[in-house]
Symmetry: C2
Subunit: 477 residues, 2 copies
């Protein structure tokens, strides 16, 4: 029976994610607001584990994490170009005055989605949330008002760029210098879609790697990744499978640093359990590139529901940002290297954590017929499953419950994410754990009281094995 | 010599924290903005470790973490009372129009701090940062403008309260229900002080524990904490030392749940290394209590620089919040328990993570004379030290460097936070690690190449021992 009828059911994933406490529309009892989602208890656990894996992954590259503010003053986004360029074109309805985003597939003949009225172009709208820092001194003083303007960051990157000089000193004036940051970012989308795909508040995990431009084709560990096969879609060509080395040597991927990091992104996504068959790297066309990028490759996930969607962007930002801040402030951002005094280039892998969580949920979900009933499963890898193991007493008897509690406590003390459950039949308890992706269920029965062994049941095969309590930890790892 | 001249130097702590990359004023190259700080590489590591310990601590209580949005619509803060009550009284200068906060120690005779002009009361100012969600439909429509108003949350708690019904269901309709959240919160302070003490953007780690009011004097694990001695300062009395049990039974602390959680907060603060002699719990006077609290005890840390400062608040919020949302929305927030259908009360330990980081830095710092030079040390506990061990080759020779790299890599693969350093003399490298609080330095020398042993030097005693490479991990734990 196992594996029979295994297929993703897109609407059921969303239903399960809501029902089991992974993802909830925010402020729902207040009528909700488009583009805002909360993580429930299981969603938050899943997110913590993915973020933890991400940190470990980039720490192993020797990169350091920093944490900068989410609010920043106007000046910074004036320099970075976001005030002028981080915009979407809009249309307004002539009759009901509602504003919406011009999508690529909207042409002038389209009517207002709200009332059917006639639309007209209504200019570019900046996507940053604006606020005011402190109290503005005096009314009507335009200069003072501007000075107190603050914005919620649209990316975490600027907080790293404006700390570049301190970070370089921390790194003893040496390149390359790799800095990572995980945190909230904000985009006041005009027409956010539902679910985790186009959020107004979201989590980015960003790497800003500062390199000597003369060294971009000389990554010291390129050897480690060069044979990795990638599915790539160049901006001017067809999808193809190529090794990283070939893609770089043919100039499809511009340089070794970019190639190395595209390969690492691919490796990370595989390590958390995203199926490689549903991933490719697509190069941006010139007309879709962000204002700061010279080249950009998106890791895209093939969603049953949304088609190909970006989950990571790997951009070569060149010296755009450091030069922009240097020229606004009239400061020197150059670094002394073997090739002279250079303005470093920035390679930036930027991960949309919420979309990755969505992709994990969608690709982990399947249903299968087991005997007379349907079994719903989230087939997470052990390393990211919100709950690593559930502990059950076979029956609701005191002697079994206290033994089960003891095993549970022992695993929790050893830092495993475990759950204790004594409600309902064993079958029902297994179903619940399958639905939330728990890889192992541990049952305490009367045999346990005699010989200190337990039943370990595996989520994917539903097979049960007898394991001594002293050896449970090895099974779970 | 060790221990001689051991004393905290308050200004040097700040200098060291800046120089070594713990804490940096935000946007400094743009002239800075009061109330905003960034965490540099070592500060972020320290913060991650404290947050990790905090999560583990409350997970062991059986509490679940969630993650809710930092922006929320106006309605929520109208219900919660923040729009009306989360305010500070202000004064305005009659001549230069600058607005400042009325501090308790400011009386009417005081002149404007900026220009010396005459001051006048200028009403209450709300401390929430305001923004706008989406595009407002039509100009001049006041109703629509209000509807699109959003605020940055002043506490993480409201995101938990408005999800209460879902969370209760997740907990299978049972009380108590404990939910935790770590995240950014925002207060648009009128006159923020420097450093991490009064920030406009800060990190809260909050626990919202929902309990049956009839059970507040019946905490199932009260036994575990009852003998813990606390230094408490009741609102109407003198500082005294009392066991938790005595404080509760005499009615100084209102109930067992509050007492239990005050004791756990004390235990947590001790576990991360804050000296108990510099901690006490002070009860709020009626006139300083937040609008939602019925009782509140602050864990205060005695700072050399700022005097007693709040680092954690433990509040009994009663049924204020659930009832407020229930009545605004006309929904039922009651839970069926053995005592009938009740609106749960909320016990809330709320941790100011940035202030805790400040307290850790200040209390960990000391200087001592060692021979002819001064040694500066951050005496962090191993469990929270940003770097757990540094690995050095004794000399800058290839055979030592490659062996040192190997040991370094081995520890990093085993998830230790380690640093590799081969620059400068060994003495200089020790000094640097002392300054950033690294408890162990591991040196690879020619003996290592022969017998696979290394020198492990301890930060606090400066003593060195010879340890086989295979046993290093046990030393570090």
């Amino acid at each position: 029976m196992v594996g029979a009828g295994k297929e993703g059911r897109k609407d059921e994933t969303a239903e399960l994610a809501r029902r089991r406490g992974f993802i909830w529309q925010a402020f729902e009892i207040y009528g909700g607001a488009a583009g805002f989602y909360d993580y429930g208890p299981l969603g938050a656990l899943l997110k913590r584990r993915v973020e933890g894996k991400w940190r470990d992954f980039y720490r192993r590259e020797g990169f350091y994490e920093i944490e900068t503010t989410t609010i920043a003053p106007r000046d910074i986004f004036e320099s970075s170009g976001h005030l002028e360029s981080f915009t979407d074109p809009t249309v307004m309805c002539k009759s009901c005055k509602s504003v919406s985003r011009v999508d690529e597939n909207v042409n002038v003949d389209v009517k207002c989605p709200e009332c059917g009225g006639e639309l007209e172009a209504s200019g570019e709208l900046n996507l940053m949330f604006q606020t005011r820092i402190g109290v503005t001194k005096g009314e009507g003083d335009e200069q003072a008002a501007k000075k107190s303007e603050g914005y919620l960051r649209p990316e975490t990157a600027q907080g790293i760029f404006i700390n570049f000089q301190r970070l370089l000193k921390f790194n003893r004036d040496k390149l390359p210098l790799g800095i990572i940051q995980i945190g909230k970012a904000y985009r006041n989308e005009i027409s956010p879609r539902q679910s985790l795909i186009r959020l107004r508040e979201f989590t980015l995990a960003e790497v800003e790697l500062f390199v000597d431009p003369a060294e971009k084709n000389n990554h010291p560990r390129f050897e480690e990744v060069k044979d990795r096969k990638l599915r790539i879609v160049p901006s001017d060509g067809e999808a193809e499978e190529k090794s990283v080395e070939e893609a770089v040597s043919r100039g499809i991927i511009a340089n070794e640093y970019l190639g190395y990091h595209i390969a690492r992104v691919d490796e990370f996504l595989e390590s958390i359990g995203l199926p490689r068959a549903k991933l490719h790297f697509r190069q941006h066309r010139q007309d879709e590139m962000a204002h700061y990028a010279t080249d950009c490759w998106d890791a895209e996930f093939l969603s049953d529901r949304y088609g190909w969607m970006e989950i990571v962007g790997v951009a070569d930002r060149g010296d755009y940002d450091l030069s922009a801040h240097a020229s606004s402030l009239n400061v020197d951002m150059r670094v002394h290297t073997e090739s002279g005094k250079v303005v470093p280039h920035v390679i930036e892998p930027s991960f949309g954590i919420d979309r990755i969580i969505y992709a994990l949920l969608e690709s982990a979900f399947y249903e299968e017929q087991v005997g007379k009933e349907k079994r719903k499963v989230l087939q997470f890898k052990s390393e990211i499953a919100p709950i690593q193991a559930a502990v059950f007493p076979l029956l609701n008897r005191d002697e079994l419950k206290s033994k089960a509690r003891e095993v549970f406590q022992k695993l929790r003390d050893a830092s495993f994410f475990v759950e204790y459950d004594n409600s309902g039949s064993i079958g029902k308890r297994y179903r619940r754990q399958d639905e939330i992706g728990t890889p192992y269920c541990i049952t305490i029965d009367y045999e346990t009281l005699e010989d200190d062994t337990v039943t370990v049941r595996k989520r994917d095969t539903m097979k049960q094995v007898r394991v001594p309590i002293a050896e449970i930890k090895e099974v779970l790892v």
